[in-house]
């Protein structure tokens, strides 16, 4: 598995997962980069019997959860700054609202709903998070209800 290919196909997905978790554009980019640093470091250890997508999303989710101790491990200035400037400019308020709502959920719920919205199969989400499929389904259902509720409140 070539790192460059993984990077190309997963960068946006991982960024969205981080964005849903933290709802801060710059920080989310840092976190996505950290994820790929770990992916790059651990790629030689990747065994083919596992699903590469599950593997990457596990690393990304775990990295999100470790956010609180990150500041000192990856000094911010050490990460690349040459990003194609394509910032939040034209983002619809609805998109912003969705990400804001998600980032206010309990930490683990943020990850579960982000994976669901990324169209990942529930059985795979179960395997990423380490819970039963039934449990995941129930959680997703509840989170979606909560989000719909918030959108309705926002509307009125």
């Amino acid at each position: 598995m070539v790192f460059e290919d993984l990077y190309k196909s997963y960068w946006q997905k991982i960024f969205r997962l981080c964005m849903g978790y933290i709802n801060d554009y710059d920080l989310a980019q840092d976190m996505a980069q950290e994820t790929f640093i770990i992916v790059w470091q651990q790629l030689p250890k990747f065994r083919n019997e596992a699903n590469i997508s599950t593997w990457i999303f596990r690393i990304a989710s775990n990295n999100c959860l470790r956010q609180i101790e990150k500041q000192k491990r990856f000094p911010k200035a050490a990460l690349p700054v040459h990003l194609k400037e394509e910032k939040e400019e034209n983002i619809e308020p609805q998109i912003q609202f969705l990400y804001a709502c998600i980032s206010e959920l309990p930490e683990t719920d943020r990850i579960i709903i982000s994976l669901e919205l990324e169209n990942i199969k529930q059985s795979e989400i179960a395997s990423i998070v380490g819970l039963s499929e039934v449990n995941i389904r129930v959680k997703i259902h509840r989170i979606k209800e909560k989000l719909t509720q918030k959108f309705k409140e926002n509307e009125s």
């Binding site: 460059e4 593997w55 609805q94 969705l98």
Partner: protein, 201 residues
């Protein structure tokens, strides 16, 4: 608004620029190196100090057994510190980020508990051995002095050791501990978030 909001569609609209991959790769290398550098420096520092102490033994040929024991105890203290320090590094390297989140959090909690042990028990052991080592080592040279200077020498050393024990050590432990406690608390909370609903079904 349509009650059936398409969250998936909204979700996918969030896009971001891709950082240049070459840049990312080169930064990764520096990061890896800087971490390793810290480990190597700590090891080298303590190994050189130990070698220096051994050289003293060889050159000055201490006569008393207390001096020799003192030297051995001091080196032992440093060896324990290095081993402990290296082990915590290995633990972090071994850690598998690719575990499922539930397993990962369990793993993290175990590592943090071990870190806590390292930072209290090992640090105490280090201080005790180091103080005992210095005290024993000094004995041979102090008995050659007059009583007055002997007391001054031991007095100053004792003050230094007590300062370390009662001021520097607790300060160091407290600094690391509060950070660790905060993290352990947070990880426990996260683990609970995942497991508490498991029993609903």
């Amino acid at each position: 608004m349509n009650p059936n909001i398409n969250f998936n569609e909204l979700w996918a609209k969030q896009k971001t620029g891709e950082p240049d991959i070459e840049d990312l790769l080169s930064k990764m290398n520096t990061f890896k190196k800087s971490n390793l550098k810290k480990l190597i420096i700590t090891n080298l520092l303590l190994i050189t100090t130990s070698l220096f102490i051994i050289l003293i033994w060889v050159y000055f040929q201490p006569q008393m057994i207390t001096t020799k024991i003192g030297i051995i105890v001091t080196i032992l203290a440093m060896a324990i510190f290095v081993i402990g320090y290296n082990q915590s590094f290995v633990l972090f390297r071994k850690q598998t980020n690719a575990l499922s989140t539930t397993e990962y959090l369990k793993d993290l909690l175990a590592i943090k508990a071990q870190q806590e042990f390292m930072q209290t028990t090992m640090l105490n052991l280090y201080f005790i051995l180091l103080s005992a080592g210095i005290g024993l080592y000094m004995f041979e040279y102090t008995v050659r002095m007059t009583a007055f200077w002997g007391i001054v020498a031991y007095g100053i050393t004792s003050i230094w050791i007590l300062f370390n024990w009662f001021y520097l050590r607790p300060k160091q432990i407290k600094k690391q501990q509060s950070k660790l406690d905060e993290m352990i608390g947070k990880f426990e909370e996260l683990h609970e978030q995942l497991t508490q609903n498991e029993s609903i079904h």
